[in-house]
Structure formats: C-alpha cells, structure tokens
C-alpha cells in the first residue's frame, strides 16, 4: 500500500506522476523563536532588512510581468509592495530585535501580532480583511529569513506543485512548462488554481486536507484528477498501474480529441448541442479546440472578485463584446451575477448571514442592488449586437422574480435605445432551474422565458439538503438520486410542453454515466467544462436514442441510488467499456460512510 491516499476536489482532470514540490508552505508551525547575543543584533537587523528588500525586489520584477488584463492582480501586488516598504512593519520588527534581542523572524511575527491587534479593532470589514495582505507579505519575508525559500521560478525539474494556497501573484511567477499538476489545501471549484490547471491541461486538486502533514518535498506522488485522489509514495505495483492508466488516458484523450469536431449526433440521428462552461474569455480557445459548439454557461463572477471597486459598464462590455464576437455565430449564454453579498464586503457592508447558501445571493442580490444589476445587463445587451448572445438569471425561485428581473432588462433596453446604442432586441432570456421550488412550478416559469438551464450542482444540494463540501454529509450528494432524476425529467417535460429549449449545466452533463439518461429525456443541450467535451461527444455519437429511452425508463423505476448506479454501470459496460476504466470512480461515493 501507498503511505497514504488523500482526497480532494478535482478542478482539472488527468493523471500526473511526479515529485512533490512545496511552495507557500504553512511555515508558522516551524517558526524559529530564540534570542540572540547583543553582539549579533546589528547583523540580525541587517538580515531583516535584506529579507524585506529581497521580497520587494522579487515582487517588483513579478509586477512587470503582469499582463494588462490582470490589472487587479497588479494592483494587489502594488499594495503588497507598499506594505513591504512600510516602516511600521519592518521598523517595529527591528525594534523587537534591538530591544528584546529576538531573532528576526520572531520579531517580525510580533510586529504582525501588533498589527493584528490594531486591525482587529476596526469595524470596517474590508479594512479588517487587509490584515490578510499583511500576513501574506510577512510570510514571504519570514520564508526568506528562515531559509525555507522555495523560489517558484527556480523549479529545476518537472514537479507537482503542492501549496497551502496559490495566489494570483504566484501563478504569474510559476514556470508553467515544469509543472505537471497542482494540489492545494485551500480553494474551491472556481479557484484560480483550477482555471490555471485547466488552461495548462494538467490535473489539479483543491481542498486537500492535511496535505502538508502527509506529503514532504520530494515524495513521489500521483495526482489522479479523474478520481480526486493523491497517492503518496505508491508501491511498485500501484506505480505500474497508474503509469499504465496515465498512458491509457493519454491515448484515450488523443483518440477522442481527433473526432471532437464532429457533431454530437446519435446513431439514429438525434442531435444534442454540446456547449462549454467558462469563466474567462481566454478559455475560448480551449472550447473551440475541444469541439465546443458554443458557451452554455459564461460565469460572470470573476470580474467582480479580488477587487475593491465594482467593474464599470465599459470594462464589462469590452470583455463581453470580445467573447460574443469571437464565438459568433456560435451561441454564448451569459449568466447574470451569481454571487452572495459576502463577496462584496467593500461595497455593501457585512450582512452576517448565518446561512449564506440560502441568503442574499444571485438574482436576489441583484434585485436588491439594481444599479449593479443594470450595469451588467447593459453590458450584456451591448455585447448582444456582436454575436449570438443569450442571458439567464440564476437562483430563480418564482414567477415574480423572473418578471422583476425582466423589468430591469426592459429598462436597460429602453435606456440603450434612447442613447442610440445597438443591441439585439430579441436576445433570448432564460432562467436557471436550481431550486426545488422552480422545479415544482416549471410549467409556470416556462411561460415567462425563452429557455431553461438546469443547474444540477445546486439543484442536488438544495433538493437533498446537503452541502457537498461538508465531509460529514457529502456522501449524500448523489447525481443519480431518484429525486434528482425526477426533477430533471419534470423540468425537461415542462419546457418541451411549452415549446422552449432546455439545457443542463453542472457536473452531471460531463458525467458519462448520466449523459445517456439525459439523452433519453430529450435534453436539447448540455454544457460542461471544455476538457470533458470530446469524451461526451464520443458517447453521444456511439449511442442511440432507443437505448437511452429504455435506460431512462428503467432508472425511473428504481427506488434506490445503488440500483440506479448498477443499471448505468451495466449500460456503460455494454456500450462503452473504455470509459468504465476512467470514470468508474465517479460512482464510488454511493454508500453511506463506514
């Protein structure tokens, strides 16, 4: 057996085998704390200031490499540089070296504690949060002082990067050609690590608990982005298995990619649109390379994160127009802002919601903040003049919300018309079906909009009542739960009854086990991470609707998830033996915890 197998959330698929290389280790646990002789104090003070200067110089050179489109990253680095030059931090640390005879790293830690006390007393939550920046800066200096320095730009051979967290600044610094994979303790599905890994086509796991405790620099690790696992110091046999698996996956990936530009059409001639979920305009190349027929979900949140001011209409319109124009005539579905109030501390104050998942977020937040909402709607409308643009509202719970959102859209249109600005007056407007309430009234909602998009990730969480990042209950998160399948079926039927299209975005869309069931329901399009498109298109092209309908009928008759899992497994074994090998791990969490 391997030393240990850790699990995490896979944000980029694939398999990588290599040596672990730690960056941004949490070094606090090993911070040296000792006093030094009076004669050594001047030398220690010099060491302290040299460390500050070195970090500042490093940041200055990174700053030069930050591309213009990452302006907010650049400004963040500027703030960090100003903090490094701040006499309050280095000066206070120097005082502690001189008066108490502390070693430099410890003295700096005391200076940081003083700042923490000063910041902790401040009411403004945004300013309290800046303490994190002080921490980041102090960490960098301490790492230099301790000599734990792992220079991101000095990775000598190909490595798997392990980190507590990766910041935008780190990602600029990393030598991407030497990196085979990532694993971090922090970060979620939409973290920067995932975006970068997907663009590099290498596997990445985030949310790996105890990463730093169980893995050491130089350990041989296997990152399995298919199963969300890290195998630490594998045995010979495990290594052989994984080598073979990685090679097979590579061959399989190349094979399916050769045919990825073919239409997603079943044997018996049914067409399904296969679209991509993206977060950055830069991902468009990957979408087209992988045979994406359009963007089924453009997550617009990224432009609002990691910054103080809200983006302006111009800034958004620039991006949106680029995206619409590049993809044209392919379709781009914009999802209006899907963030909670917690992400806007700077501008909107703290709400202290005890349950943000059910709080003021997504469409609710936008309707409460019409200025912010309208700025985005205007930018999207402006982009609609340049391509095939659709708009959808997230987290809709009732008819009134749809009407309110559409009223703001109408107002934005009226403004643009008065100003003589071009937009597509017939831009399709849809909603995301993510709440059980929306499922139950799908037939009414269908009367209000041009299309539905089922967001299964949230729908599963809300209908089963399970937070899948909560380790105690995540086993209950089941895409193939009979309730999930019935919900999707109900929504698809309601849409078709009303004569509107229905799409599905969420991991279910890229799950080879689920796709045949979705086809059986008659879904019009599915949208997924770009990397999954070739595989899913292949499955669609090798199936026929008759089998899919039969499978659907069978699974709808099942009362338990395990029965359903068995049926879809049988189906995959029968029709797609190759896929079983790579994706069977997706079905592993169907039993209660032991």
């Amino acid at each position: 057996m391997a030393d240990i197998i850790l699990t995490g959330i896979s944000v980029a698929t694939g398999i990588a085998i290599g040596k672990a290389y730690f960056v941004n280790r949490n070094h606090q646990a090993h911070l040296p704390r000792h006093t030094i002789a009076a004669s050594l104090v001047p030398g220690e003070v010099d060491r302290l200031h040299e460390a500050f200067a070195t970090v500042e110089a490093e940041l200055a050179s990174i700053r030069k490499q930050v591309p213009d489109e990452l302006k907010s990253h650049g400004l963040l680095i500027d703030t960090h540089r100003t903090m490094l030059k701040d006499p309050k931090l280095s000066g206070a640390a120097e005082e502690y070296v001189r008066t108490l005879g502390l070693n430099a790293a410890w003295a700096l830690e005391k200076a940081v504690s003083d700042q923490e006390a000063a910041f902790g007393a401040i009411k403004d939550p945004y300013i309290r949060e800046r303490m994190q920046d002080v921490r980041v800066v102090a960490d960098k200096v301490q790492v230099k002082l301790i000599g734990l320095d792992n220079d991101l730009s000095a990775i000598s051979s190909r490595a798997i990067i392990m980190a507590h967290d990766l910041t935008p600044a780190d990602t600029v610094e990393l030598q991407v050609d030497k990196i085979m994979g990532f694993a971090t303790v922090r970060g979620g599905k939409t973290s920067h690590t995932g975006i970068m890994a997907r663009s590099l086509g290498i596997p990445a796991l985030v949310g790996v608990d105890k990463l730093e405790d169980h893995i050491h620099d130089g350990d041989l690790v296997i990152i399995d982005g298919l199963a969300g696992k890290i195998v630490v110091n594998p045995t010979e046999t495990e290594l052989e298995d994984y080598n073979e698996r990685a090679a097979n996956f590579e061959i399989y990936t190349r094979k399916i990619k050769r045919h990825c530009q073919l239409p997603a059409e079943t044997f018996d001639g049914s067409r399904v649109q296969v679209l991509a979920n993206i977060e950055l305009v830069e991902e468009v190349a990957t979408v087209i390379d992988n045979g994406g027929e359009g963007i089924g979900l453009y997550r617009t949140e990224y432009a609002y994160l990691n910054r103080i001011e809200l983006p302006t209409e111009e800034e958004l319109a620039d991006k949106y127009i680029d995206l619409a124009a590049i993809m044209s005539p392919r379709k781009v579905v914009f999802r209006s802002l899907d963030l909670g109030a917690d992400k806007f501390i700077a501008s909107y104050g703290e709400l202290n919601e005890t349950n943000p998942a059910m709080g003021l977020r997504a469409i609710r937040f936008c309707l409460k903040n019409p200025q912010l909402f309208k700025t985005q709607l205007r930018a999207i409308l402006r982009a609609s003049a340049y391509g095939n643009v659709s708009l959808m509202f997230p987290m809709i719970s009732g008819v009134k919300e749809v009407r309110q959102a559409k009223a703001w859209l109408a107002q934005a249109k009226a403004e643009l018309r008065r100003e003589g600005v071009q937009y597509d007056p017939d831009m399709p407007v849809g909603i995301m079906i993510e709440l059980p309430a929306a499922v139950m009234i799908a037939e009414y909602l269908a009367q209000e909009v041009d299309f539905f998009s089922i967001g299964t990730n949230d729908l599963i969480q809300y209908s089963i009542g399970v937070d899948r990042t909560n380790h105690h209950v995540s086993y209950l998160y089941q895409p193939l739960h009979p309730a999930t399948l019935r919900s999707i079926k109900l929504v698809v039927d309601a849409a078709h009854q009303a004569g509107i299209e229905v799409s599905l975005c969420g991991e279910v869309a890229s799950d080879p086990f689920c796709v045949p069931i979705l086809l059986g329901m008659g879904i019009d399009s599915i949208s997924m991470t770009p990397q999954a498109i070739p595989g899913i298109k292949r499955i669609i092209r090798q199936t026929n609707m008759h089998d899919c309908r039969k499978l659907l009928k069978d699974v709808l008759g099942c009362r338990t998830v395990s029965r359903i899992n068995n049926l879809v497994m049988d189906n995959i074994f029968k029709h797609f033996p190759e896929e079983v090998d790579f994706f069977s791990s997706l079905l592993e969490n169907d039993e209660s915890p032991t």
Binding site: L75, D78, T79, T82, M83, K85, D86, P87, K88, L89, Q115, A118, F119, I122, K123, D124, Y126, I127, R130, D133, V134, I308, E309, T312, A346, S347
Partner: protein
C-alpha cells in the same frame, strides 16, 4: 496629551495642517492608502493624518488603513519639516483627485 498640548504642537514652528475630505467611493482603502503612503514617503518632513482624534504616520500604509476613514470623512494632514508646505499641498491634491481613481 491634553487639548492644550495638541494646540501647542500645531502652532510650533514649521507645522502646517490642512483639512481634506475623503471623496472617493470607498474611503481610505488599500489602494488610496498605498498612494498616500507612497507620496508621503517622497518628503523629508514628518507627516501625519488625523481622523477622529487618531493621529497616524502618513508614510505608513498600515497606519493609514487603521484610520478606517470612510467616504465623506474629513481628515487633517499635518506636516512638520523643511518641505512641509510642498508635502501638504501634494497630499491635498491627491485627496482632491480622489486618489486618481478612474
């Protein structure tokens, strides 16, 4: 420090002071605070910012952040030294330009 002492300080030789308004949308947050600190560091004079009885070093971004001066708040710039006048004027301009934010 008593009220009297404070006034004495202000009246001592070379100390200039001026009141400015924090006119940008989000107050003295990281970026404006950074700009103030950077600009203050260009002068030899000792410069401070005063807000609600709290006086801090204008050359320190951390100090300025702890003022937590919000939009619309009035802040006093104080400078003592050979280039105090230039310092006060340059910082006043920075506040007036709303920290050069787009």
């Amino acid at each position: 420090m008593t009220e009297e002492n404070g006034t004495m300080d202000l009246e001592s030789e070379g100390c200039l002071s001026r009141q400015v308004v924090v006119a940008n949308e989000h107050g003295l947050h990281a970026r404006p605070a950074g700009k103030v600190a950077q600009q203050a560091q260009c002068f030899k004079s000792s410069i401070s910012l005063v807000h609600q009885d709290q006086e801090v070093d204008a050359k320190s971004i951390l100090d300025i952040l702890t003022l937590a001066a919000g939009p619309g708040n009035i802040v006093e710039i104080r400078a003592t030294g050979s280039d105090a006048e230039a310092a006060v004027e340059s910082l006043e301009r920075l506040f007036a330009s709303r920290f050069e934010e787009g």
